[in-house]
Amino acid sequence: MIPAPFEYLRAHDVAHALDLLREHGDEAKLLAGGHSLLPMMKLRLARPTVLIDIAELADLDYVRVDGDTLAVGALATHARVGEAELVRAEAPLIAHSASLIGDPQVRHRGTIGGSLAHADPAADLPMAVLAAGATLVLEGPAGRREVDADDFFTGFFTTALEPDEILVEIRLPRRAGEPWGYEKFVRRSNDWAIVGVATVAGRVALANMGSAPLRAAETERALAAGAGIDAAAELAAENTDPVSDLHADPAYRRHLARVLVARALSSAPG
């Protein structure tokens, strides 16, 4: 549980971080809060030879309103995202999601950008930004580009990020006052979801029901067509391919998805 040897570099700003990424290629990993990467390195499941520490890039730690979107800097910690009045008012689903991650220590180190780039299919924020209809801003050598959350998560721990790109901002539609629902089925409060559900504005996203966070498309279609909650929730597990692990087999996960989608849709506190 001691990482393999690596070189540690600290970036001064985004441009510097991009230079370092270009220089070290896919040998390098970006280090933000480190709460996903470091445990994997300690178990030697990840063995980057270079760590580029971006945790002190203060220009990526912000929450601000930008027209009809709420812009969150990639280095905003879960604690900040969970507690900031602006996020709680304009994107309460995201604030709630961030406030459930791990434990207080994790939430004060872990960052929203780190969590999304890590793309654990069982994690809170990937599912939440998918439900929220977020747009992710990536910066690379050629400048910035925007990717919908729907296109960002491409598979098991993989994303649309190129090796020389950094996720710099998460742009969330402002949804003050819109009903939302969130269900996280865990054994212990600090666990990853066995199954998770996030819903807002007719969008329904699932965690840990496949290799990436995904939308319950059939449920959304049924809702759009005017179906009741129970009927729509019955379709929540259509086209999913959940894993089997210690906590649940696919049949139980599909059952949980249906129950939790119904609950998330019913609760949807305004």
Binding site: M1, I2, R188, Y252
Partner: protein, 767 residues
């Protein structure tokens, strides 16, 4: 009742906490000592395969690695290993220090890597090239019992030992109207102490070893380590620094400890070892791991008549303490009940898994879990309230020792009173009403109420005889005092408790008393802390020493004051000896110590083990749509005789209740069929945090024992003994009306949901 003015029985704050919480305890890995300057770091390369022959070990690639000092395999060591703890067990089950020829579990040490730096160890260890020729593994103890795959082909069987009744009574259930039987898994759990295993070893110029070892008793570790190293105990000094949790798994010495001592000697350099968490989960002994078959019989009116418990104990790959624990399980099999006939048997087998050792309760929780589940099964079968079945069958209150029909002599107890107290504190009838209402209105969240009545054995003697412990008290000329104890705290609060006892007798303020332990040069004898023995033996020894010291002080004061010793009293307000009726004529203990050293060493011996008891009630909510259980309340009555310090007692109870509830709901060390551990990190091994547990409701009940002057029985393990079946019973009770009779632990959401599905399907099938 204590005399007026005594501090005994009061909530004295823990004197050890400021150090542990603010200035930092000194754990073995933190030690700074001249004797450890330039110490090398020892680490172990462990088997990644459950069962295999080692065909080659190549160490050549290591030698050029940064920080490499040395590497060793079994061939280098030439140490005999850890022999089985029972003379009746075949010696060929001996556990080697390093695997020789065959590995038998994932995590078994195969090679030692020694490096200059701690962080280099893992890099160097990766370069060890070991080739394995896999053998078929056997993980399931029932399969192991069939001897199709043998861990020790020379022995010819996986069965290590058996504990059998003198004759099997085929008519055990003859006159019973109802007989119920079930298989129950008492699952394997990991002790997971905050501080993993560690050691620091230094050989002196006199060829004597000083070994710092975080453990439950320096003296027992000294004996165990001497045996592993083949040395006389006079060559070993064991020192116990602060210990970050033990839970039964830090008794004696493990093969790794012997290896560290051996490396230090071989290299003529001090050596340190600090185990990583992953290694700890694989290679520290695990606990429990029993497969049980309970059969219980009685009449439709609720009378219990006969009970049989059959145990298959999974010992892991080598028979350690785990092979002995079923004898305690058998001894406590009937629990608090009055059966006409009780029979039990146990068979201990080796499997390709981590060896089993003691774990908080060690053999007794398994007995309680079995009988408490059996009673609930019986109650469900005859359709009687489980509280009423217990009321009908509990042993009545007794003050004189009585046999339990299974080899134990219960010292004193009032099991019905404990049950009634727990039931009334819980508001049992109201809970049953609420349960019925929820069921009636089709509530998704059902209520389950679980009971457990328990009795356990604490402070038992060893093969050497009656349980005993020593203490030494010395009063110094400056008015301070030192206590030396053969017990060994690792969280319990001995420094507070022992100082209270001495202060109460001698009048020396607690803050002037230092409690020392855990150094075999300072305290050569001692039984350490385990089996909930400390207060009833170590504490009783301290009180006895203080009384004897007061007697000596009176005799000396008589000379000095030219008074008749019979006229002299100890004045506890001044820590002085005074003449009765003339309190101005006095000599303080400090003054006496200034004339001549004033100390007493004494040994307290108890007539036997004590049997604390109690009753727990758990209230659980089960979400029938998801299966999710939530522990809402846990009410405990833990009667451990007279309580010395309720604050310390409450701490022991809280920790025990949490650990016991954790086994019922959360924890399990899981292996796949190939013997790969699936729960070797804290992300996967699900012990709960405070967020998963309610505030516990502790009720007070004190039934004294006559086995020591304190009237105290053991309390450290009680919480784990009653709470596990109470919580498990509550989970099953929540869904019992659906036809569910049993769910194995941990009662996870998935298992509960599956049990509901099965019961519902069965019910539909019957329609």
């Amino acid at each position: 009742m204590q005399p007026r003015g005594s501090i005994l029985g009061t909530r004295v704050q823990r004197v050890e906490d400021p150090q542990l919480l603010t200035r930092g305890g000194v754990y073995t890995d933190d030690l700074v000592d001249d004797a450890l300057a330039s110490a090398v770091h020892v680490s172990f390369v462990r088997s990644p395969i459950a069962h295999a022959r080692i065909t080659s070990i190549d160490l050549t690639a290591l030698r050029a690695a940064p920080g490499f000092v040395a590497a060793f395999t079994a061939e280098d060591l030439a140490l005999p290993g850890a022999r089985p703890m029972l003379a009746t067990i075949d010696e060929r089950f001996t556990r080697p220090i390093l695997a020789a020829g065959t590995v038998r579990y994932v995590g078994e040490p195969v090679a030692i890597v020694v490096t200059e730096g701690y962080y280099q160890a893992e890099d160097v260890g990766e370069l060890v090239d070991i080739e394995y020729d896999p053998l078929p593994p056997v993980v399931d103890p029932l399969a192991a019992g069939r001897d199709e795959v043998l861990l020790f082909p020379d022995v010819g069987t996986n069965t290590v030992c058996e504990f059998l009744p003198e004759h099997r009574d085929e008519q055990l259930f003859e006159n019973c109207e109802v007989v119920v039987s079930s298989e129950i898994v008492n699952q394997r759990v990991a002790p997971a102490p905050l501080e993993t295993r560690a050691a620091a070893a230094s050989w002196g110029s006199d060829d004597r070893l000083t070994m710092w070892l975080p453990n439950q008793g320096a003296q027992t570790s000294q004996r165990a380590l001497a045996a592993l190293l083949g040395l006389d105990i006079s060559r070993l000094r064991i020192v116990t620094p602060d210990v970050g949790g033990a839970f039964g798994a830090k008794f004696g010495a493990d093969p790794e400890h012997a290896a560290v001592a051996w490396v230090a000697r071989e290299l003529a350099r001090p050596a340190r070892w600090s185990e990583q968490r992953y290694d700890n989960m694989l290679a520290m002994t695990h606990g429990r791991a029993q497969l049980q078959t309970v059969t219980i019989g009685g009449d439709r009116d609720g009378k219990l008549r006969a009970y049989r418990l059959d145990v298959v104990q999974d010992c892991g790959a080598y028979p350690a303490i785990g092979a002995l624990l079923p004898s305690l399980t058998r001894m406590m099999a009937p629990g608090t009940y009055r059966f006409e006939r009780v029979e039990s048997a146990a068979r201990c087998v080796v499997t390709n898994t981590t060896p089993i050792g003691a774990y908080r309760g060690a053999g007794r929780p398994e007995a309680t879990a079995a009988v408490e589940r059996a009673v609930d099964l019986f109650a469900a079968e005859i359709g009687m309230d489980p509280a009423d079945v217990r009321r009908r069958n509990l042993l009545p209150a007794f003050a004189e020792p009585q046999e339990n029909g299974s080899g134990a002599l219960y010292d004193s107890g009032d099991y019905p009173a404990a049950l009634e107290l727990a039931l009334s504190a819980a508001g049992y009838d109201d809970l049953r009403r609420e349960q019925a209402e929820r069921r009636e209105r089709g509530d998704v969240r059902l209520l389950g109420i679980g009971l457990a009545s328990y009795v356990e054995i604490t402070g038992g003697g060893d093969e050497a005889g009656a349980p005993s412990e020593n203490a030494l008290i010395e009063v110094h000329p400056d008015g301070t005092a030192t206590i030396l104890t053969g017990t060994s705290p690792h969280g319990q609060g001995h420094a507070t408790a022992w100082a209270m006892l001495a202060s109460d007798e001698l009048g020396i303020p607690i803050e002037l008393i230092t409690v020392r332990h855990g150094d075999t040069d300072l305290v050569p004898e001692g039984g350490g802390t385990g089996g909930s023995r400390s207060l009833q033996q170590g504490g009783a020894a301290v009180q006895q020493a203080a009384r004897e010291l007061a007697d000596i002080a009176r005799l000396r004061a008589a000379d000095m004051l030219e008074a008749n010793p019979d006229d002299l009293r100890i004045d506890r307000d001044r820590a002085a000896i005074t003449v009765a009726g003339s309190p101005h004529v006095a000599v303080t203990l400090a003054e006496l110590a200034g004339v001549e050293r004033l100390f007493v060493r004494t040994v307290f011996t108890a007539p036997g083990a004590t049997f604390p008891f109690g009753a727990h009630v758990a209230v659980v909510e089960v979400d029938t749509e998801t299966g999710r259980p939530t522990l809402l309340r846990l009410i405990s009555v833990d009667d451990a005789g007279v309580v010395l310090n309720p604050l310390l007692a409450d701490g022991q109870r809280h920790g025990g209740l949490a650990q016991g509830a954790a086994q019922a709901l959360f924890e399990e060390m899981v292996y796949d069929d190939d013997g790969n551990p699936l729960t070797a990190t804290f992300a996967d091994y699900a012990f709960p945090s405070a967020a998963e547990l309610p505030m516990f409701q502790l009720e007070t009940m004190e039934t004294p024992t006559t086995y020591n002057p304190l009237g105290a029985k053991g309390l450290g393990e009680a919480g784990t003994i009653g709470s596990t079946p109470a919580v498990q019973n509550a989970v099953i009770d929540a869904v019992a009306h659906l036809g569910v009779r049993h769910i194995d632990m941990p009662t996870t959401s998935r298992r509960i949901w599956e049990a509901i599905q099965t019961a519902t399907t069965n019910a539909e099938g019957r329609l």
